[in-house]
Symmetry: C2
Subunit: 303 residues, 2 copies
């Protein structure tokens, strides 16, 4: 095994060995912010990938488009109105791109804790081409703030709230406060009547308990929930969990997609709401995430 | 005269000859954003200065503290309430620092069009020390958006609105839309009852017509106005104009500063509202700025 020199060691904090592209690539930007190490990578003849602390957060790939369709169009279908949309963790602008497709949408607020992430989403050319300039659209307001604090201090109400943030880890316990019962209770106050929340719940096929714990936490906060999953992404090769939450009972029959999508044909929708029982079985050992415990970070660390 | 090499020519776009520090200095950061060229400069044994397109925008100097006191505490004294404050062009966080001194303040929204400016205001160490971490305070929400678009699309209401942006120039006509009658009419809809607006009106001693035109434009938008000035800043060596606007008549007697200030003793306050007649005389030749003309850019270009 070759010894790693200091440059390589430092580079690994930006692009981990696990997530390094197989082929050739160029590093377009490499920035240490107070919150994370960000790298922007261009694969040769391939997409642009944005890394956070060594791991791909998103990129200009078809998988990211699938992800955004699954995360945006499902809650949009269920919500009573679609005028005001809050995106927590939407730095890349791909979910904003999808939300802007609804003519009803009047105002989207995209909250990210890192100003540099917003700069990338607004100005990095290949990404701006991919997200269709969504973050520069007049209807979109980009906010640099921790999502929890934004929701605590800002009393606006929303028709649809979409939460798309990394899993908490022992290093970044603060993220637990964006998955906690206390946070979900706050969100309830910020929903318009008939409003809906969608939450990205990590990889169902690797850690179903993660999604199970979010479901339990949402219920503890007084929500009705409806989990779904998406298992056809190419690169991720995994089965991803999502969850809807509302203040009234919701069921699959409420999900009538309102616009033309590329990756959500009716046949797939049916599958999406049928959670394989091997995952559901793990949901029984669920624990509730609060502001004071480390339930989700511990699940995440174990895998 | 020595020939300038390419590096010097390029540097001049970041630090103009007019605004270059006299003594030694280091360039801490130099960034070209889609909106401007930003340079962060540390003077030897002196302050940190932030340049935009060659000219100092602000810095960690006593003058900047005076500026912030004049721009914040006067409208705060006149407004009926002080719970919700909107800062348009507050990237440096110095006005936010002053606004946070009021215990009544619940939420401050600081809007800047440039994500990199917000990154600097939140993270550049000497500046964060100077602004007391104001932009990282939970009560402060930093928004990356053109101020005009923010006000158009966001229907929140504010007790105090503070506008602190550069003069429009022929190069950056968009800024005219942040001084126009149409914009001021919009602001009127965004004021809480008893709310007040303060606007920085450039250098009275160099171009009194600039302030005169803002006053005329505010009146055309249906505001009552009260201009003031501040002429004791050391470095600027100029007499700066400001203006209050409200939906009810306001006078100097309404200005009772509510907290302890360093630079606004009662004796100076009296002077601040007495505008020298040599400036006031120029206000008669005033023109109204609209979304479609270049009144302020032309005044600015002439000087």
């Amino acid at each position: 095994m070759p010894l790693l020199d200091a440059t390589t060691v430092s580079l690994r904090k930006y692009i981990s060995k696990d997530d390094e592209p197989d082929g050739k690539y160029r590093i377009l930007r490499k920035i240490k912010t107070p919150l994370q190490r960000i790298a922007v990578v261009k694969e040769k003849n391939g997409p642009v990938l944005i890394y956070g602390d060594g791991y791909v957060m998103f990129g200009t790939t078809e998988d990211d488009e699938m992800w955004a369709e699954a995360l945006v169009h499902i809650p949009m279908a269920v919500a009573k109105n679609r005028q005001r949309v809050l995106l927590i963790g939407g730095g890349g602008g791909i979910t904003a791109r999808e939300a802007l497709r609804y003519s009803e949408v009047k105002e989207i607020t995209s909250v990210d804790a890192d100003a540099i992430m917003i700069d990338i989403g607004k100005n990095l050319k290949p990404l701006v081409k991919f997200n269709k300039g969504s973050l520069n659209n007049p209807k979109v307001t980009t906010v640099v703030k921790d999502g929890r604090l934004f929701v605590e201090y800002n009393r606006q109400k929303w028709d649809v709230i979409i939460i798309d943030i990394p899993e908490p880890s022992e290093d970044s316990l603060g993220l637990g406060r964006l998955y906690s019962r206390e946070f979900y209770r706050l969100l309830k106050k910020r929903l318009q009547p008939g409003g809906v929340i969608a939450i990205a719940c990590s990889v169902l096929s690797v850690m179903p308990e993660f999604c199970g714990s979010i479901l339990a936490t949402l219920k503890a906060a007084g929500f009705y929930v409806l989990p779904y999953h998406f298992d056809v992404m190419k690169k991720y090769e995994e089965d991803w969990g999502f969850c809807l939450a509302a203040t009234r009972p919701i069921s699959q029959s409420d999900v009538k997609i309102l616009i033309r999508t590329r990756f959500l044909p009716r046949s797939r929708l049916k599958d999406m709401f049928r959670i394989p029982s091997k995952y559901r079985r793990k949901w029984k050992t669920r624990k509730i995430q609060t502001d004071r415990n480390r339930v989700l970070a511990q699940i995440h660390e174990r895998h």
